[in-house]
Subunit: 309 residues, 2 copies
């Protein structure tokens, strides 16, 4: 096997979420132990403006909010973080992601929902945890926060981007050469952040699988970001009838204008259709295409691949 | 370097306690990620008979009990677990070990006390956590509970050994070939446990550094235990003037009558006097003496040594 040109960054997607409930502190500790370079934080706000490390703006899929706070849902039946104060959310039991309608786990082979209760983690707690670990281990594992739906938060009366930038500043992450990437799907928000804090804060523009990507879009992104975080489907459309990969040229296009490429999400238990070999998928993205980072639920498998390459 | 005859078990002493507060769930997750074979639990009881994973029978060195529950200490000034109900202890903030008189951290280079608050972990929570992780990862990491001062607990009105055996039974650990060692300093308690549950439960007799060990004592231990957990000082008394190790023949004596040997505690930040090379210490115990397991606060360093050997 050819060694990759350079070692890509392992971004622990919601922690070692393949093995422990996403965004639990234990999932972050496990990913740290398994060799992640960056630990990801999805960031949403509570009613009282606390920053929480949670993927959804509602609490239903990962907590017992519905039984704990009956009558507090919105019209769509969901219980939104932004309708609860931090001290209320701290009383909830969190666990593996389920379909709240059926109680069925989204990834049945992972940590069992019934195996244990976890608590919500605030952004501040998680940063102190990672910085504390970096101090005790001598490593320098980075953070990779995502501003979740910033426009929606503004409509609800909370400027999430501003709160997050303040928190990053308070924890020293706006200084040159800090170990951080800031990610978001919203280009307008990212553009404003870049104008406000400058280039010391590396920015990744997320791109979902239905984005129409062309060189003009990529050039626009270079105006405010250091790279892109595309769905892996924008790079690997699927499998050809002959078993080879059906590829776009997004990685080389992005690289040609100086953008880093951090595709998401590498999951051994949720592979692209028709693809059954996780190492072959990693070989494609790491060895052949030379991506700069990978979001993965399985830090250990990517670390093992890189060690063996 | 000669490869060791066999690979010794890495016992994560209070979790990855070199990097995160002892017995926090995060410290266990980190040790799991760093490659521990067994995760250690010290077990004490609360007033209402809950089993807690804590090293001391008092709460003062690792929690904010003194400020939270003023007036609840005993005559010696300490706040004992057994004087509090579980729901009271669950309100406390736990963290890195300090001298409660001065607030000074016992190991200043480790996770900072101020870096974060952790919660007490019950034995039941920890077992479900480890079994859940074993299910999601496909690994089979063991548990290594210690019955803390069982006679003292009996004097306080709680039969800790009986409660722990019940809990082990409930979680399936009394079946043949379970991944467990039970440890205790108290020979009488261990003898009773062996009589009660038989040889399916592997037992380790702990021996502190002032124990007078001879072949008769070791023969007695074979009557109820599978091995010994000696202070490393019983094996390595210190350094000779010429820089070589001053050794006992405890390991070969124990091995000659079929006892396993799991010495404690390997800490890179608390080395035996006169010894400054952690790898040399590991080489002595692993490669030269061939111990069967090691209690360590630094799972990663022992795992690295074994990988490189």
């Amino acid at each position: 096997m050819n060694a990759p040109a350079k070692t890509p960054l392992i971004i622990a997607h919601r922690g070692a979420s393949g093995y422990l409930p996403e965004h639990s502190l234990a999932a972050k500790a496990l990913a740290y132990g398994l060799g992640a370079d960056y630990l990801e934080q999805d960031v949403v706000a509570s009613r009282d403006g606390a920053l929480l490390v949670l993927h959804d703006v509602w609490l239903d899929d990962v907590s017992n909010v519905a039984e704990r706070f009956t009558g507090r849902s919105r019209e769509d039946g969901r219980h939104y973080c932004i309708d609860f104060d931090l001290d209320e959310i701290q009383t909830l039991q969190f666990g593996e992601r389920v379909d709240p309608a059926t109680g069925q786990e989204k990834f049945p082979g992972r940590f069992a929902r019934k195996a244990g209760g976890f608590k919500v983690v605030t952004f501040d707690e998680e940063i102190r945890f990672i910085q504390g670990l970096n101090a005790s281990t001598g490593r320098n594992v980075g953070i990779y926060p995502e501003i979740k739906v910033p426009q929606w938060h503004v409509e609800q009366g909370i400027d999430l981007a501003a709160l997050l930038i303040d928190a990053l500043d308070a924890h020293g992450y706006l200084q040159q050469a800090s170990r951080i990437y800031l990610q978001c799907f919203d280009a307008e928000t990212l553009g404003r952040v870049r104008q406000q804090v400058g280039t010391a804060l590396p920015i990744i523009q997320l791109l979902n699988s239905s984005t129409k990507v062309d060189i003009k879009l990529l050039r626009d992104i270079t105006g405010y970001a250091n790279g892109i975080g595309p769905s892996m489907k924008l790079i690997m459309h699927g499998m050809q009838p002959d078993g080879s990969f059906d590829l776009s040229d997004l990685v080389s296009q992005a690289h040609s204008i100086g953008l880093e490429v951090h595709p998401y999400t590498f999951r051994v238990d949720q592979m692209p259709e028709g693809c059954h070999d996780f190492d072959a998928l990693l070989r494609l993205f790491i060895t052949d295409l030379g991506v700069d980072g990978l979001f993965t639920d399985f830090t250990d498998l990517v670390a093992q691949f890189i060690r063996d390459a």
